[in-house]
């Protein structure tokens, strides 16, 4: 890779009470890339992004974002550096409106400037095609719309690095098409790290793929390379 790494993990390990969830993970993500992180259930995908955004403290190893050591940094400060994260399990503010959910993230960056905030919120909601639901309570939205709202909450923060944990889970076919379109429109401006089970989405959106298995990096490469990789096939098919 010619471009400079935006995110690097160096020998990251995480041990959950005797279980090695991550073993010496070296992971490099160049700026501007759309990267998919795949692997069987329990491979350590969510744990790895958890250590990146600060929800999980690694047992050892270090994490660098934009050349800066962030291993010990508090979660909210990492987010302020420009990392946005959407939860695997939908985590919206269910008693607040969809608008307010997105506005919370926007205001953190732009303060309480009403017109500016309103414009950015509506833009984020429009990009995931739920602008017409802005005034509805988030808890009243369908599951798929809540997933899209999660993505809009990330978009509203105009992140440098956008980490999405299984964003297409629970989306309809049409919404998945829209999601792929969205990722394509973001690529180049925003660096995206995508945990995804839907191989169709992975192959169509990701420029590069990292395969995790049993807590370590099994293989990395383009979609075609991964498709042909015997180890990757074994890791997936061996479990099925």
């Amino acid at each position: 890779m010619a471009s400079v790494s935006l995110l690097e993990t160096r020998q990251v390990c995480k041990n959950f009470g005797g279980l090695d969830a991550l073993v010496n993970v070296d992971f490099d993500l160049p700026g501007g890339q759309v990267r998919a992180l795949i692997g069987p259930n329990g491979a350590g995908k969510s744990t790895l992004v958890g250590t990146i955004c600060g929800r999980i403290k690694p047992t050892s190893g270090s994490i660098l974002f934009d050349g800066q050591e962030i291993t010990q940094m508090a979660t909210h400060r990492r987010i302020c550096l420009g990392i946005a994260y959407t939860f695997q399990i939908t985590s919206v503010f269910s008693r607040l409106t969809a608008f307010e959910n997105v506005a919370l993230g926007v205001r953190r960056i732009h303060g309480n400037r009403r017109h500016k905030v309103r414009g950015l919120v509506m833009e984020a909601l429009e990009r995931v095609n739920i602008a017409d639901l802005a005034r509805q309570r988030a808890g009243d939205l369908s599951y798929g719309h809540q997933r899209l709202l999660e993505i809009a909450m990330g978009l509203g923060q105009s992140p440098v690095l956008f980490i999405m944990d299984e964003p297409t889970q629970g989306l309809s076919e049409g919404e998945i098409e829209g999601f792929k379109e969205l990722i394509r429109s973001l690529s180049g401006q925003t660096t995206i790290l995508l945990i995804e089970h839907n191989m169709n989405v992975v192959m169509e959106t990701a420029q590069y793929i990292t395969v995790l298995n049993s807590g370590s990096v099994l293989a990395e490469g383009t979609g075609d390379e991964m498709r042909r990789n015997k180890q990757v096939q074994a890791a997936y098919l061996g479990r099925n």
């Binding site: 955004c53 985590s91 919370l104």
Partner: protein
């Protein structure tokens, strides 16, 4: 979503109504209203932490009495005049809240309730321990002659009403403004889902601490105002009862609404006032009414109003 005009007219309307009430109600009700306005400041402070930030404290009596004794002791033992003594009340509540918040906010949920309750009990016992200065449960009177501000006699019912109104108006406008800022919105986000608020880049620990400080200082301002306008400071105001009362007022009036604390305080006050006219078992009436309200209007009076008629209610 953003309708400043409706908010502003509501707030102006509430304040105008309170001014108007002075001229249309009897002296007896004027006295009651002065007391309600001062205590509503306590409830508003409580609501800022409980209703907006989602932290249920059982120790606010200590913040109230810190303000009360901060003013009372400064006037009676240090011979201060009203204004600096009021400042001492604010400082005392700020110091007490700051110290307790630093420790208590390491906990949350039920543990936070217990820790604040225990600190408040320790504070109550401390007030009894220093009975030489605080006069314990018996309390002390702040002399009428000393209760003047800029030459205005605050013991005069009219002046007292407007002093209570001024304290209420400043606190009310502060809350109305604060909940509209991005800081205030973030408090609501913390109440709804703290982990998510942190994941949006907010320093939730700092927000909670500042919310507690504001809550404690408003409670202290209410305590100082109460001592000043009604001329008495006593340890009873530090007892657990005065930690439960603001919670009750806020629940009755509507947690997380700007007018809820005033509505709840007034409602609870007049519930006791009216029912005790008819029966000596007025506490039974009060209890039954509270049970009825919490069963059928769990969001309080203004919470219900918001749900049914005015979803914009701040």
């Amino acid at each position: 979503m953003i309708r400043p005009s409706r908010d502003v007219s509501l707030h102006a309307g509430v304040l105008a109504a309170l001014l108007l009430l002075f001229f249309v109600t009897s002296a007896y009700h004027n006295g009651n209203l002065a007391r309600i306005m001062v205590l509503a400041v306590f409830a508003m402070g409580y609501n800022f932490l409980f209703g907006y930030t989602g932290l249920l404290s059982l120790g606010h009596a200590l913040f109230f009495s810190a303000g009360m004794y901060g003013l009372g002791i400064s006037m009676n033992h240090l011979d201060m005049t009203v204004l600096p003594a009021f400042g001492m009340g604010i400082l005392a509540s700020l110091a007490v809240t700051g110290a307790i918040g630093f420790l208590a906010l390491r906990t949350s949920g039920v543990a936070f309730m217990i820790v604040t309750l225990m600190f408040a009990q320790a504070g109550y016992l401390t007030i009894l321990l220093f009975g030489k200065y605080t006069r314990g449960d018996e309390g002390f009177v702040i002399q009428q002659a000393e209760r003047t501000l800029f030459g205005i006699d605050l013991t005069d019912p009219t002046n007292r009403y407007f002093a209570a109104f001024a304290l209420f108006a400043v606190s009310y406008l502060f809350i109305a403004w604060a909940v509209r800022t991005s800081f205030g919105r973030c408090l609501v986000a913390i109440r709804e889902n703290e982990a998510r608020a942190r994941m949006l880049g907010y320093d939730t620990a700092r927000h909670k601490y500042l919310a507690l400080l504001a809550s404690g200082v408003l409670s202290g301002a209410s305590g100082a105002g109460y001592a000043l306008l009604f001329g008495y400071a006593g340890a009873t105001f530090a007892s657990v009862q005065y930690s439960i009362l603001p919670l009750l007022w806020v629940l009755l009036g509507g947690a997380g609404t700007t007018i809820g604390p005033l509505v709840g305080t007034a409602f609870a006050f007049y519930l006791v006032d009216v029912s005790s006219e008819f029966t000596s078992a007025y506490l039974l009436v009060v209890g039954a009414t509270i049970v009825f309200l919490t069963l059928f209007f769990p969001q309080g009076l203004s919470g219900e109003l918001r749900r049914r008629l005015a979803p914009w209610l701040p």
